[in-house]
């Protein structure tokens, strides 16, 4: 029962000042085992904040990140799943599911976490699942201004993943979930 938090595209301090208060009150240390962030935090203070929530933080480089030492892509294994992270501004057309699927096959991961479009998306194809947690602060993206803050919490339990989607709509936190199973025996 591993809890993995995926959130990115915060754009603090350029486009947003902080996470929404309702999100912050929910994110308490001690519950989450891993944090994956596609990038665009953008400053060190945000990185420190994420570290305070959980010791194991993985971040990839977004185009506005201050810290240039973040890698372009990252892969890790949690339980039975291989996860990959990439910001997504490198993949053109931005947000195109076919191209992202190509990246996923390249990285050879079951779940790809990506960002940049600031829109939540969960897409399944035969190679695996692509999850875009959206922007946790609701910062405007290169494409549109109309963004709802959102992030994703995954509960990895054996071969099954429950993805909880937290979205702030009209000042209220809405939580939905998505289930999927990894086919037994598939690598």
């Amino acid at each position: 029962m591993v809890l993995v938090l995926a959130l990115g595209d915060l754009h603090i301090p350029h486009r947003a000042t902080d996470l929404p208060a309702k999100f912050k009150s929910m994110l308490v240390p001690g519950k989450i085992q891993h944090i994956l962030s596609p990038g665009n935090l953008c400053i060190k203070e945000v990185h420190d904040y994420l570290k305070s929530l959980c010791g194991d933080v993985h971040i990839t480089r977004g185009e506005y990140d201050d810290d240039s030492r973040y890698p372009e892509t990252k892969q890790l294994t949690i339980g039975a799943f291989k996860l990959g992270i990439c910001h997504g501004h490198q993949v053109i057309p931005w947000g195109d599911l076919e191209s992202l699927a190509m990246l996923q096959r390249q990285l050879d991961v079951d779940i790809l976490i990506t960002g940049h479009t600031h829109q939540f998306k969960a897409y399944k194809h035969e190679g695996g699942v692509i999850i875009n947690p959206g922007s946790a602060t609701g910062a405007y993206s290169s494409i549109t201004y109309d963004i709802n803050p959102s992030f994703v919490l995954m509960d990895i339990d054996g071969l099954r993943v429950v993805v909880y989607v937290y979205e702030l709509i009209d000042g209220e936190v809405k939580v939905d979930k998505i289930d999927f199973k990894k086919a037994q025996g598939s690598s």
Binding site: L3, M26, V28, A122, K124, D155, D157, R160, Y164
Partner: protein, 439 residues
């Protein structure tokens, strides 16, 4: 009190009679007789105050049954053995097993026999403790039903209290009959589903299964830390084997369920020490069936035992008439009644506050002061007292002080405190005899 211990002592005060008793004479150990010879019973007169009979427990404790593989910590002074005592051992075994095999157990009789020490063999101790604590009813016919009922109850507790939230959400979904097809969707955008009752991992609502789980995790951590430190020298608890691991898991579950069922006192450090002997005795029961259900039995017996002492664990009651402070005051008063001089010396001259030593003695029922097997013998006496274990516990504590009388009178604050907090090894039989002798 080892016979040979000597420090520079002041001129000897008049020696009390019990200090000169024959029990101190140490003889070389004769080889252990493998079988109990019932034929020689006739020569021994069964009498509560007779020293030979009272030493049976010491024999058994010095040769513990090896089923647990527990290593014995050095302790319990020289076990006296003479031929007469070997016969007496057979006597005690026969008497106890006879008592236990009766259809209707005479509780007072069992208590009397137990206070003299329960033999280690043939799971007599396990059964005796269960009867003495009231877990098993006096009528043997009811045992089967009673046991089945209680064990089933424990299983229900276990399933309710020890939850894995992922499991719970999975079960909920199955109840809501989510289509399996959803999960097996081949391609395309994955659909989002509503969740029920706001039950997500970050939920702060008190009705959320996840929230409860995270709160319990803290409790579980605390229990885990303490269980791992229980009796580190014994293979039964802390060996590298799967058996020891299983025992630790059982202890953790028992303490966790107890804490959840008693939100008033929850878990306090030290409860693991009180539970350990109970679980050990039940788990090393020769009877396979009983040993398999040791966890359930230990849980209920633990609850019974703690019902007498729970006020000691509750911090708010510390200063009340039932709390630990008042019990310590009772001990102090008892000491004063028995030996005014020693009391005065401790209280005024060396200024040793009884809380410094008596706190651990009383709350942990003396499990930490003696070797494990000595404390099992001690618990035989504690549990067999018809007035409740507290009364005899105080008397034993007083006896402990009296036995070290000369050293205490000679010492100042530091030496006395050190002595009392690291109580030296004594002959358990002797200690219990002294305790019995106190009014």
């Amino acid at each position: 009190m080892a016979a040979g211990s000597s420090s520079s002592m002041p001129p000897p005060k008049p020696v009390p009679a019990w200090l000169n008793s024959a029990a101190w004479a140490s003889k070389p150990r004769s080889p252990v007789r493998s079988s109990y010879s019932f034929k020689e019973i006739g020569t021994i007169q069964r009498d509560k105050s007779a020293p030979p009979l009272a030493e049976i427990g010491a024999q058994e404790d010095n040769h513990p049954s090896s089923s647990s593989g527990g290593t014995v910590r050095g302790g319990g002074g020289g076990g006296q053995q003479t031929d007469a005592l070997n016969q007496a051992r057979g006597n005690g075994f026969e008497a106890s097993s006879q008592q236990l095999s009766r259809r209707r157990i005479h509780l007072a009789e069992l208590q009397r026999l137990s206070s003299q020490g329960i033999p280690d063999s043939a799971s007599i101790r396990a059964i005796s403790w269960k009867v003495l604590l009231g877990y098993l009813p006096k009528n043997q016919d009811d045992w089967a039903t009673e046991l089945a009922k209680k064990r089933a109850e424990y299983l229900i507790f276990r399933n309710e209290m020890i939850i894995n939230p992922s499991e719970v959400t999975r079960r909920k979904e199955q109840m809501e009959a989510m289509k399996a097809a959803d999960m097996e969707a081949k391609e395309g955008l994955l659909l989002r589903h509503e969740i029920t009752h706001n039950d997500h991992p970050l939920s702060l609502g008190s009705s959320s299964v996840w929230h409860q789980f995270f709160q319990d995790t803290e409790l579980a951590e605390q229990i885990n830390r303490d269980v791992k430190r229980t009796h580190p020298d014994m293979d039964f608890f802390c060996g590298p084997t799967a058996y020891a691991y299983e025992n630790q898991e059982a202890l953790k579950r028992i303490l966790f369920i107890f804490a959840k069922l008693n939100p008033g006192i929850r878990y306090v450090q030290g409860m693991n020490e009180v539970l350990a002997p109970l679980y050990y005795v039940f788990k090393t029961d020769k009877d396979e069936d009983n040993a398999a259900h040791a966890e359930e039995d230990a849980f209920f017996c633990f609850v019974e035992l703690l019902s007498d002492f729970r006020d000691h664990f509750c911090q708010q009651l510390d200063n009340s008439a039932v709390g630990i402070r008042s019990t310590i005051a009772q001990l102090n008063a008892l000491l004063r009644r028995q030996d005014e001089e020693l009391w005065r010396h401790l209280e005024y001259t060396s200024k040793v506050n009884p809380q410094f030593y008596a706190f651990r003695w009383i709350t942990l029922l003396l499990t930490q002061e003696f070797s494990f097997f000595d404390s099992l013998r001690l618990w035989d006496s504690l549990l067999s007292n018809p007035d409740g274990p507290l009364e005899i516990l105080l008397r034993v504590c007083c006896a402990m002080l009296l036995c070290e009388r000369s050293r205490l009178l000679a010492g100042d604050f530091t030496t006395n405190l050190k002595l009392l907090q690291h109580y030296p090894a004594v002959d358990m039989q002797h200690l219990l005899r002294v305790a019995d002798g106190l009014s």
